[in-house]
Symmetry: C2
Subunit: 469 residues, 2 copies
């Protein structure tokens, strides 16, 4: 076994140094044995070790191939221009969709939440139980905006550690990220105002625009960088935009993260054009690798950014505790909160404080990221191997969504409905865009174990795409 | 002691039969001893027993008086007419107020929540702890509108038991009653619509009207019945009212409950004028005596009533789980919910189901009612004895608020600010009405033990009223 590890290490370096390129076929077992002088069994063990490390993948009856590591992502579609959308009507479709994938017998590839098996922390639940047992009065401070002071402090410290100077009073605790986003939007926009959104974006964003009766300017994705700075500035020049709402890390549904240079330039443009940004950073903790991505908030000298996030994507929907970070608008947001959602359960806030005060959360995040990366890679490889060539499979190293472009003749909403009859949920692009040219994409939740059941379901999805009835 | 009990029983009957009337002075100890032939000590013991039963009260250096039992409530002020209010601005004052009474060193006579010592059910908390310990997945159904089916079923059953035929799907679970009320209002009214409100009402109602930009018609209280049917119909005739928002049981802040005949007539008028009613019935369980009051919903043949309530006033703000009951609008309310608060913590919903499925809740309610009645009566007697005569103290047999009319020259907002410096919170009428003629009322939360500390604070309030600085 020692020899196998040695060989694996050598090959690992070849791949890392780029000598062997992604999708390149590895020498056959026999060739490799001959070249290296190792036994066939040793070579097989080495290849399997590389596969376990996620560096290579096996294709049936064909051999081993180098996996995409720093995958140069497939370029996104270039949609020519930004457009004005005045009468958004997304909510009813979203509502029916969410109801349809709700039954427990529907495989949750369409869900927006990560696999709960990865989230249910025994330690956290133990703390909740302890708090519930204590007969303390949790009524006073935590049940009013801005929420529990000790929780504000802990969140502020996490920002400060990333280099964003933050005071506890800059943080308003909310009922999840969507509440933070909605309150932020209400704080800066009123019916009829102009808002800039990414052309493809999480349905909650569309619903918020619909609810407030906003005029929406859509910004197409940049094929390479995800975010098109040039078009962004054009929009700021052309339209009386009051506020933007952007997702730049682990974008939902596509998955890309925008690089830090672009974020810095966005911050500069916001300051220059005096436009607010609602930054939806709910997936900020779900990066793969060692470096947490920055946010536009990091570059926000001019207090234009309302930075929103939550614990619900790392601890589960049962911990729908979010927050918004903005010094000057904190009071206004609390005023709005007092007229609507008021506060998160004090019990959950107190339990969270205990959990976050220790290293439990960091430990949980590390393990969550590793597991998500493993699942996502296995899903990606399976899809890449079995989907017809005309499909594009977009893999980015963060989060748990994979975005797939189907052949243009396939209507993804119809596909979703067909798959429902097989008890499989997928998220069609109609949930994420109002652009009629983009109805052939789907988002898959890849946070699940690739076992017989899930693999069989993926096979059904692929089969239905390949041979639409 | 047996003799004393016998005498107490005899006198108890005299009071019950109305031979001795409320506020009538009892014979002095000496007179009673002479008449009855009992010893002075026996008479004293009997009087003390009656006092403990809440039937008589002692006035210093004066003797014993019969307490108001079926108190004929003091007539409310007659404010002449309904008025149109187009630009409600209540939220900022409410916000500052709630912040000001939040510190734990402020005595919570101004709070809207009952004394948490009466609410923290060991049994309920034990169930929460059990649920938290189980590593179940609570993510799926309970985290989407309309909430957990088993909770809908239990609430529906409670309605049916009161004679209101209800299906589980008529119930939408919300984040507390205020969320239910706000969602209901959004479901039936849009900015600029006309809404009818009681002239004196819970600030959340004003905030909701402010938030939606509604035109508010205020309906003055009926001096005797609390609700003025005649003026109500006049308003429905005069204004294009889309929806009413009323509180008819254990009205906050005044405390009255409207009788069932009036509720029935309200239902008829709603049907006739095709107007919706948002019925805030959050205190429905806090009646004293044996009969639960009905609601307008009970008489609602025409589906005009959105009936809203919650567990937060019986189980605490930590259990901010409410609901709205309306068959036809259920789907629309869920759509709105999906764009805002989404759902209550599944953990709390599951724990509630377990708690409500047993007799724990009924037992808790019975004990809560008895304790609230005891506290409220003791507060009332103390206030009645010590407040200057020109103050009216409104006592009604439900809930835990006492509404006090001060002499007209006293500004209750100033009084509240002065008392804050003594670390005492009270709720001034500015929180409940936009009528400038009514700034000399206060609401006291009387759900606390009348001990040395609370009595001393009441004395400070009375002192400040009697000798304003």
């Amino acid at each position: 076994m020692f020899k196998a590890e040695q060989l694996a290490q050598t090959l690992h370096q070849l791949i890392e140094q780029g000598v062997w390129k992604p999708h390149q076929k590895l020498p056959s077992l026999r060739e490799q044995a001959q070249t290296s002088g190792y036994s066939l069994m040793t070579v097989l063990n080495a290849y399997q070790e590389l596969e376990a490390r996620g560096l290579v993948f096996a294709r049936e009856k064909s051999g081993y191939y180098v996996a995409d590591q720093n995958m140069q992502p497939t370029a996104l579609d270039r949609i020519e221009d930004s457009t004005l959308q005045s009468n958004i009507q997304m909510n009813s479709f979203v509502f029916d969709y969410l109801k349809s994938i709700q039954p427990t017998n529907i495989l949750p590839f369409g869900s927006a939440f990560p696999n709960t098996a990865l989230l249910h922390q025994p330690k956290l639940l133990q703390i909740v139980a302890q708090h519930a047992r204590r007969k303390q009065s949790y009524e006073s401070s935590a049940s009013m905006p801005p929420g529990l002071l000790t929780l504000q402090q802990i969140i502020a410290r996490r920002y400060s550690l990333q280099g964003i100077a933050t005071e506890p009073q800059d943080i308003v605790i909310t009922s999840g990220c969507l509440d933070a986003l909605n309150l932020s939007l209400q704080a800066v926009a009123k019916p009829g105002d102009y808002i800039l959104l990414q052309q493809t974006i999480f349905y909650g964003t569309w619903q918020a625009a619909e609810r407030l009766g906003l005029n929406v300017i859509t910004l197409p994705e940049h094929p390479e960088y995800g975010f098109d700075l040039e078009k962004f500035e054009q929009c700021l020049q052309m339209y009386p935009i009051k506020v933007c709402w952007l997702m730049l890390n682990s974008h939902n549904p596509i998955g890309f993260s925008v690089n830090d240079d672009i974020k810095q330039k966005i911050a500069q443009l916001l300051a220059h054009y005096q436009v607010y940004l609602i930054e939806d950073d709910v997936y900020q903790e779900l990066y793969f690798g060692s470096k947490k991505p920055l946010s536009v908030k990091y570059f926000d000298q001019d207090h234009r950014v309302l930075h929103c996030s939550s614990f619900s994507k790392t601890l589960g929907a049962g911990f729908r505790v979010g927050w918004v970070h903005h010094r000057k608008l904190s009071n206004q947001i609390q005023h709005l909160q007092l007229m609507s959602t008021i506060a998160v359960s004090p019990l959950l806030q107190h339990a969270l404080v205990d959990f976050l005060s220790t290293h439990h959360y960091e430990k949980h995040l590390r393990s969550l990221r590793l597991q998500l990366e493993r699942h996502k890679k296995l899903f990606y490889r399976y899809l890449k191997q079995h989907l017809p060539e005309e499909c594009d499979v977009y893999y980015y190293p963060s989060g748990y969504f994979i975005w797939i472009k189907l052949p243009k003749h396939i209507d993804s909403t119809q596909l979703y409905q067909t798959l429902l009859t097989h008890h499989i949920g997928i998220a069609p692009s109609q949930l994420f865009t109002v652009n009629r040219q983009q109805q052939h994409f789907i988002r898959l939740n890849c946070s699940f174990e690739l076992n017989d059941q899930t693999q069989h379901s993926l096979a059904t999805i692929i089969q239905t795409i390949t041979h639409p009835s």
